[in-house]
Amino acid sequence: MRRPNAIQKESEQIATVQDLTGVFESTASTQVAKVKDKAQLAQEFFELLWKRYSSLRIDPGERIGERDNVEESNKKVFVMISAEAGLSGDIDQRLIEQMLDNYDGKTTDIVVLGTHGAQQLQQKGIPYTHHFTVPETDQYIDVSPVISAVSGYASITVYYEVYVSLGVQEIQTIDLAARIKDMGEDVDTDDIMTSEDTIFEPSLEVIATQMERTMMALALSQTILESTLAQAASRFNAMAGAKKRAEELHDLLNMEFHHAKRSESDRRMREIMISLKKKKQRARMA
């Protein structure tokens, strides 16, 4: 059995880990609440704008499909939205595994958002063409550099993380161009705005072109925001799990400490008893 002071030292270290994981758990919980509110506001905004964009009487699908800078090779790109830092549980790992199930290096390039994902891909020896950092912020992120990096591809698939509940986060994918295309297809005919009944300034063509880029950027920003929320929830779960394990370990060490203490006092008691017995024997002999 280990000595009580060695156990006590380890127990103190575990108590520190327990405190730290408690702080991380609390920070992650605050982050979840904060990002959840923002995500809800942004979703309402996005839906309103989406509705207005859908009402433009130009088939957005055709426009997206006819982008001038699409490469002749028709190469695909996967955009992977991971966490910027670690301590977010296994969610990035699951994201990468799901993405790699559909990955073919000959036909597909990878663009990574988030340093954690980039590091994991490097460790697996999977190349990526671009890496963008994702600031740990609940503000909208300027995604124009990402849009510029992916706009030349025939197909843009975004792999991102979705918050289902505090305990459940899922991996989802969207085809960015197809999503914008789908918008124009389920519009109520009463909502359609044409140049016959609407004034477009400076022109319908200019507005449609700008709206396509804006909607694509907003759709990407939404996925980043959703991922940020899922990562915060995953971090909360990871920290709650680590805190629970630290508590269990701390309890075990406490028990071991008391056993060791009792065992030590029993041993001393036995030694005292033996010594007393010997003294009595020696007194009788004398």
Binding site: L41, F45, R52, D197, I207
Partner: protein
């Protein structure tokens, strides 16, 4: 074209991704686009435009509400004005 009641107030929604700048009735909305400064009054024709950076003013029955936009989109449909700011 649908009939528009010139006596009605405008119904205005001005939002950013994380901000609600104004929501409610208004007498007018003033902003600027590539063509120049413009005002939207009740009964305005349906309208869709990209906004230039600058100040936007919503004139209400109380004091006017102003806010700045780096960019944005304005749509007018049947006296309903939607401003999508800083997108």
């Amino acid at each position: 074209m649908k009939h528009k009641d010139d006596n009605e107030d405008l119904s205005v929604i001005a939002r950013g991704p994380f901000d609600i700048y104004y929501e409610g009735a208004a007498k007018a909305v003033s902003a600027s686009n590539a063509v120049g400064q413009f005002d939207i009054l009740p009964g305005h024709a349906d309208f869709f435009s990209v906004l230039d950076p600058g100040e936007i003013t919503v004139t209400t029955s109380n004091k006017p509400v102003t806010f700045n936009a780096n960019n944005g989109i304005i749509t007018v449909r049947d006296n309903e004005v939607m401003l999508f700011i800083n997108i």
